[in-house]
Amino acid sequence: MSSPYADRGSSRRRGVWNHWVPLVLTVAVATAGVAAWAWSQRKQGDQEDSEEAADQDLDYENADYGENPAYGASRGEGPGGKPPAYSGTEARELGSIQKDSAGWGAQMSGALRRTPSPQQFLDSAKKTVAAGMTAAGAAVGSALAAIREEDKTAYADHETWSEEADAKKERASPPLSKEVSKRRKKVAIVVSADNHLEDTDSDGFHEHAVSDILAHRHTASSTQPTDLLQSILSHIPKNIDFIKIKLYILIFAPNLKDTSFTTSTTKPPPSLSSSFENIDHDQAKTPGDDAKSPM
């Protein structure tokens, strides 16, 4: 006889059982699924050959992970016991331990492909950071060394360069002075010493060529000839730097032609006339006299 209370209690118990078991089972299966997915993902990085077999052995209903030794502990407790998520972390630890034995390159590539689990991520991150630090340190060190080396060579170069420059300077200084002398600024001043109104008039050229100012100068030159004629040259400073300036002064002296003609008629310059004309008659006769005297 079952009391209605008992029935009710059993039904309530049954209801609780019916209510809680599926929930736990569902949660367990879901967790196991997530863990299995994570495990499969991790396994992909480690052993790609056994990965497919592990995937095939996965049974989501019983949360049985087959012959995998990592799940041996969790399998005995059954699906309703310990959530398989813990076994997942254990497996992860195991996997990381296994991976430590694996090569660095495989671990790195796996870490790149793996889903990020905190510990592993930390591990790999640590390792990566450490490796990066060492690599960066090495790079910086090499760069510093290179820079120091460059500096050394640059300094050595500087010495040689300065020597070279000094030598070049010494070598270039004589041609420089030569160039300066060649580059002396040539300045020409053309002035007129023509102050004879009669000569210019007779010349005929200046009748048309002269401007008003020249005519004015002619009228004024009768009163003060020298002062006016020196006007341009008197404005030129006396201390001319002949290293930089090569000064030519051209003087127009039309009346000089006439005087030179007159002087040439009266007394010819010795250099321009014939050398025979310079010989006096007495000197020319001396050979004859000498020839005559012994006889």
Binding site: D194, D212, L229, Q230, I251, F252, P254, S260
Partner: protein, 149 residues
């Protein structure tokens, strides 16, 4: 300055027994300026300086305005090879200086003729002719030849 015995010697060496006091004076002054006596060149033909300058090829030429030829023909001749500006010194002969002179207009019949260096097409900017008053030659020399401002 040099108007003593050395002047007499110098003048005699270039132009023997010249009796032109104006030439003597200007030669004396030129001799005091130049480096060597041979750099004072005397020419007698009206456009002889054009040929001399062609050979000397100076960078700066101070040309007295009265030697620029008729209508600046000598300047035109010089500008066929001269790459730099030619400095035309005007008013230097007149002592009083200045571009304007009233005396000459009364004397010369051709007062209506404008001097060639007044024309814009001859002495404008870039024409190669710089007109400098005789009193300004010193400033122009300092600026142009000695490079001082």
């Amino acid at each position: 300055m040099c108007c003593g015995v050395p002047l007499a010697n110098a003048v005699r060496s270039v132009a023997p027994s010249t009796l032109d006091p104006a030439y003597n004076a200007i030669y004396c002054q030129a001799q005091g300026l130049v480096e060597k006596d041979s750099m004072v060149l005397t020419f007698t033909s009206p456009n002889g300086h054009a040929h001399i300058l062609r050979h000397v090829e100076p960078e700066v030429i101070y040309l007295q305005e009265s030697l620029s030829g008729e209508n600046g023909s000598v300047v035109t001749q010089l500008q066929t090879w001269l790459r730099h500006d030619l400095i035309l010194v005007v008013g230097a002969e007149s002592g009083a200086g200045g571009l304007a002179d009233s005396e000459s207009e009364a004397e010369k019949p051709g007062k209506g003729d404008e001097v060639w260096w007044h024309r814009e097409d001859r002495v404008g900017r870039g024409r190669g002719v710089v007109v400098v008053d005789g009193l300004r030659v010193h400033d122009d020399w300092l600026r142009r030849v000695q490079g001082k401002e």
